[in-house]
């Protein structure tokens, strides 16, 4: 479908393509225009109109929440903007006010309050014609797009200085959120924006919430949080009271993905069975395959996890074919052995922790400290997992030989010779009021990245 592939329009010839573009441009703009008449003198009316202030220049992506558009100001504000339009509950027919979703309320409130260089900046919120428009600063890239760019032939790894800068800025943003009692709960490459100057911005706070003295357990509010591949083991094991450590696990997964260019724990999500939350066996297995089986020694509260008993359903890692099904006592230590170190060194292309860091261009330059940071973030026990503040102090970020001799640059593109391609925006947005798109779609990415799982939130 042309929605994710703007180039298909070009096949019909330049002239018709441009004509078609014109119509589509209008339809993008139409998405912001008045769906209903403004009759009646009572009721709520916005003081500002989105179309008066911003000119929409393209469609960026859509998700369950609604759609994101790229826009510029009509009133001389410099720069570009990303406008997130929350879709009303019912699309198509006459739209009714039905109460704003809790997730939109949270995102509006949090974004209005937060202010940090590594968190996406909100410009304003316009409530107009039963729709919510959140206007953000525009970021040219995101980590998903950057990772994807590196998988293109010839596949080439992300430069170590870029990885390091991204990680530092990401942790810096997390530290800010956590010290302000905000849990993000949906960190993943697609939600980490990068500006053209290389500033990392944590985005999409649609699942974020405050965790200061909650009136109810966090679990009772949202049964499922974090996109499956980035979901921490304590969440997979059903923990009711989780902490900022869940974000740190996701940061660890993102770090690994920046190195290997593919999700480190790429499990398959078990579907919600009516109203019960299933045990995510396949995802947990993927973690165990690399991290080994969790043990009470590594994670003292393990046995009090609600889904603890389900761990026995899992296969120990690296099980040889024909191996005995019930592993014996003596093999238990083998089952719990972590293979992360092996994974790390084979990924960065160094053969062991002793090999000396080679040239700065190779990931091997990230050295032993890179492994230590990764394993600190992918620690099973949430209490022992690195906090954002601790991770920022990690020797990995010091320009010492053990840290690969690479200091942290303020922009993650510093010193790079090539620029990343710009975000592709599409003019191909058919009437927003009739379109109903399942899941997450993005403009300008091939299908393979479209099938990435979407975060799911089940509100109580």
């Amino acid at each position: 479908m042309s929605l994710t592939n703007p180039s298909s329009g070009a096949a019909s010839g330049p002239a018709s393509a441009s004509a078609r573009n014109q119509t589509l441009k209008r339809s993008v703009q139409a998405a912001f225009e008045d769906p209903i008449d403004r009759g009646g003198n009572v009721g709520y009316q916005s003081k500002v109109r989105v179309v008066d202030k911003y000119k929409v220049i393209g469609f960026i992506s859509s998700g369950t929440y609604g759609r994101v558009y790229k826009a510029v100001s009509r009133q001389g504000q410099p720069g570009e903007f990303a406008i997130k339009k929350f879709k009303p509950d019912k699309e198509g027919e006459q739209v009714q006010y039905s109460g704003i979703s809790q997730s939109a309320v949270r995102e509006m409130a949090l974004c209005s309050e937060l202010s940090h260089e590594n968190v996406i900046r909100l410009i304003e919120i316009i409530l107009e014609d039963k729709c919510i428009f959140m206007v953000f600063e525009y970021a040219e890239h995101d980590l998903l797009q950057i990772i994807h760019h590196h998988t293109q032939q010839p596949r080439h790894s992300i430069p170590p200085s870029t990885v390091k800068s991204i990680m530092f800025q990401l942790l810096n943003g997390c530290q800010y959120l956590h010290s302000n009692w905000v849990l993000h709960r949906d960190l993943k490459p697609a939600n980490i924006m990068v500006t053209s100057s290389g500033q990392v911005k944590i985005g999409d706070l649609g699942l974020a919430r405050l965790f200061y003295k909650p009136l109810h357990s966090l679990w009772s509010g949202d049964k499922v949080v974090v996109t499956i591949w980035y979901r921490a083991p304590e969440l997979l094991l059903g923990s009711r009271h989780y902490t900022p450590a869940i974000d740190m696990w996701a940061v660890g997964c993102i770090f690994a993905e920046l190195l290997s260019l593919r999700p480190i724990f790429k499990g398959e999500e078990a579907k919600m069975d009516k109203k019960t939350v299933p045990f995510q066996r396949n995802q947990m297995q993927k973690i165990v395959d690399i991290m080994g089986m969790p043990t009470k020694e590594r994670w003292p509260y393990l046995s009090s996890m609600p889904e603890y008993n389900n761990l026995s359903m899992l296969q120990p890692p690296m099980l040889h074919p024909g191996h005995h099904h019930h592993h014996h006592h003596h093999s238990k230590s083998a089952a719990s052995t972590s293979h992360l170190e092996k994974w790390y060194y084979s990924t960065i292309g160094a053969h062991s922790s002793t090999s000396s860091p080679s040239s700065n261009g190779s990931l091997a330059a990230l050295g032993a400290e890179g492994y230590k940071l990764l394993s600190g973030l992918l620690e099973y026990d949430p209490e022992r997992r690195l906090t954002a503040a601790q991770a920022l102090q990690h020797p990995f970020f010091q320009a010492t030989p053990s840290g690969g001799g690479i200091g942290v640059t303020t922009g993650c593109f510093e010193g790079l010779k090539v620029a990343y391609p710009q975000r592709r925006v599409s003019q191909d947005d058919n009437d927003i009021r009739t379109a109903s798109l399942p899941g997450t779609k993005r403009s300008g990415l091939p299908d393979d990245s479209v099938v990435r799982p979407v975060k799911r939130i089940k509100e109580a």
């Binding site: 006010y97 109460g99 974004c111």
Partner: protein, 311 residues
């Protein structure tokens, strides 16, 4: 931000001086002069008492925690700084504020529940359609500039209660003072910790609405202010009236002293606390003249006359 009151939108955008507040309200009334004259309303404090009672009833029916009710009360206050009350249906605003506050305080309930319960409380004053609450929610959020995160004095009380060895009775009294302050302008005038500290101080003296006891409070505050380094020569050890025989009275005085020492060493806005105390006292006095029936009639009159219940 959320953890830091000083950088919060509450401090930056929703804390006013008394003059600013009076000016804003004047401007609102001026812009709707005819309406204001046609529908006289009792003094604001009595309106606040009425709203407090009504939102309390709705909160009780839906089993909503006080923290969310308090947040809703602050939303209502902010909203009516920006919008003339006679232009709105207060019952709709109340219901919507509580609906929104529950989402913000992470104890959401379905919009339908709010409408059903509100309609059973105020049967002929509210439209049955949930979309009215949905629409009013847009209005509220828009007037509040989406600044929905609220800092409340409860947090300070919880974190300081052990420092001052407060008994359960004292904590309860302080809590009720905090609950009551939502019927005054104080949440728009002072930082939540200033209010919490005032509530703690008031909880330490018996019958805080007794004027001689107020003298004790004011004396303690003034002394604490003088004992600050660089202000006056006080030693901080002086006891106002140390001759109590009653042992209970004695511990109480000790608590007040400890509190005064804490204040003297802190940078808390003591002048603000004195003003908070006085505001609360005049609130309690004003409360005695409250007449629920008149109040209800006056509110319902403009709601009905203007047909605000119909949409």
């Amino acid at each position: 931000m959320a953890a830091n009151y000083w950088e919060s939108t509450q401090r930056r955008f929703w804390q006013f001086s008394k003059d600013e507040l009076a000016h804003m309200r004047d401007e609102l009334e001026k812009s709707d002069q005819a309406l204001v004259q046609m529908f006289p309303l009792p003094r604001r404090t009595h309106l606040n008492i009425y709203f407090n009672q009504q939102i309390g009833r709705l909160g009780k029916r839906l089993n909503i925690k006080q923290q969310a009710v308090a947040t809703a009360q602050l939303y209502i206050k902010r909203f009516y700084c920006k919008v003339e009350i006679r232009r709105t249906n207060p019952y709709l605003v109340l219901t919507t504020a509580l609906y929104l506050a529950c989402k913000m305080e992470e104890c959401p309930q379905h919009i339908r529940m709010f409408v059903t319960e509100a309609r059973s409380l105020w049967p002929d004053l509210l439209h049955a359609d949930v979309s009215r609450v949905g629409e009013c929610e847009f209005f509220l959020i828009s007037e509040m500039n989406s600044q929905l995160i609220v800092h409340q004095p409860y947090r300070t009380l919880t974190s300081l209660q052990s420092d001052f060895f407060l008994t359960q009775d004292e904590i309860n009294l302080a809590l009720s003072v905090i609950n009551d302050h939502y019927m005054t302008d104080l949440p728009l005038l002072y930082a939540p910790h200033t209010i919490a500290l005032t509530a703690i101080l008031l909880s330490l003296i018996p019958r805080p609405n007794n004027s001689t006891n107020i003298a004790v409070v004011t004396a303690a505050l003034t002394q604490a202010q003088q004992n600050r380094p660089g202000t006056g020569t006080g030693t901080g050890q002086n006891t106002p009236g140390a001759s109590e025989k009653d042992k209970q009275q004695d511990t109480r005085m000790n608590k007040i002293q400890r509190f005064a020492v804490f204040l003297a060493e802190s940078t808390v806005d003591i002048e603000g606390m004195i003003d908070c105390t006085q505001e609360l006292i005049s609130f309690y006095e004003c409360h005695e003249q409250y007449n629920d029936k008149i109040m209800r009639e006056q509110v319902n009159r403009f709601v009905k006359a203007r047909g605000l219940d119909k949409h």
